[in-house]
Amino acid sequence: MVEQAEYKIKLPTFEGPFDLLFHLIKKAEVDIWQVSIADITEQYLAYLQSMKELNLEIASEFLVMAATLLRLKSKLLLPRSPKFQEQDEEEELFEINTAEELFQRLEEYRAFKKAALHLRQKEEEQKKVFLRSTGGQKIMVFTQQESVYTIWEGAHHLSEIMQRFAKIAAQREYVPAFSAVEDFVIARKADYIYAVLRQKRRSVPMKDFVIESSLWEVIITFIALLEMSRQRKVNLLQDRPFEPILVSLIEKQPELFQPEEGESGERTAKESY
């Protein structure tokens, strides 16, 4: 009755045990209400077996369903004892105690599967209609299933950062005037950083470059370091957010610090040089 070989060749993926059961019933070309529990259990287990042989991971829901099916099957075989009431609270997903309940659930699932198919058709139709849209779904970037970010979220984060910054500045009763951050001040700070690093010959925490510890000086130091980093004069290292930023000097070794665009995998052996 069961053609095991057929399952081995190609295993379709299913959304869950109901999906698999539904597929098996459709394959047997019988109505949901006419299914033999014994047959369906056998086929279901055969499918799980072939999954096992292919070393596929079997989700726990599938195993719980297998147990449920076996219990239903054994119930049909064993004489009924009215006093015996099963106590099982292991899984709320499958509170299925009779074949009728199983069919009921399958029937319900089938209806929703059909509804989902209808939604798929509508989705396809709608995909062909382009809207005048800048703020709608079409700017969403879907990289993986779990990470969905929109440009708006990014903008939201940015405004949050700016708000926090303004809050801190207000607390210190000092709003930095950016016009005061003049180039020569930054350049002087950079010179100072450079001198310290050359003298110490090791990495130095960023806070060590701040002498007066005013907010303004912190900003100057940070800008100076960013600029030096951009010019590949220093390395900035931070283990994780909010940890101290370590600054170290980049020694003049052009071979080691020339990233070749588009050839990152290639390494020229110049060690002997």
Binding site: E61, E107, A116, H118, T134, E146, V148
Partner: protein, 175 residues
């Protein structure tokens, strides 16, 4: 003459709008009645289709919206290929279907129908704003209740939930 001017205004309004526009909003902008506005929108709709134009007016999420004709999609995809988003997964559609028909619905109810844990799918649908949390169900644990959003209707090009076909459940063995 006056009416022609109003129809041109409606065309421009629908062209500019990124969201479906409700008839009362159109009516307010043109200082006319909702009934009149709707009639003119329908006339515009027919004109666009009769002239075989590249744009169409259709009903979505309780309003009217202007969009391109489906048969032009292959040309447009070439021009805007980077902006086309991916389709929803089968799991996502199953969950959406359940939420759409049974709302407000809890996660446990959804999982019991699907026979599969569905928290992850729900989270993604929330992020995509196709569903939202409408409140909590009274009872043990006060679980969250999920409903579909206007974006859901927009995404599938539905006027309202009534446009979904009836759920076909056969209850032969029930009683």
């Amino acid at each position: 003459m006056e009416k022609e001017q109003q129809k041109r205004a409606i065309e421009a309004l629908l062209f500019l709008s990124e969201e479906p526009v409700k008839t009362d909003k159109v009516a307010a902008a043109l200082s006319t009645t909702s009934g009149e506005a709707e009639k003119m929108i329908e006339e515009l709709q027919e004109e666009l289709s009769a002239q075989g134009r590249g744009l169409q007016i259709f009903e979505a999420a309780g309003g009217y919206q202007m969009g391109t004709r489906p048969d032009l999609s292959s040309f447009l995809e070439k021009a805007f290929s980077e902006e086309v988003s991916s389709n929803l997964s089968t799991a996502a559609l199953e969950v959406l279907a359940i939420v759409a028909y049974k709302q407000p619905v809890t996660r446990i109810e959804i999982e019991s129908i699907r026979g599969v844990r569905s928290q992850h799918v729900l989270d993604n649908l929330l992020k995509r704003k196709l569903i939202k949390i409408s409140g909590r169900k009274e009872g043990p644990g006060r679980p969250l209740l999920y409903v579909t959003t206007a974006d859901f209707l927009k995404y599938f090009g539905l006027k309202d939930l009534g446009e979904l076909p009836e759920l076909e459940v056969e209850n032969e063995g029930a009683e």
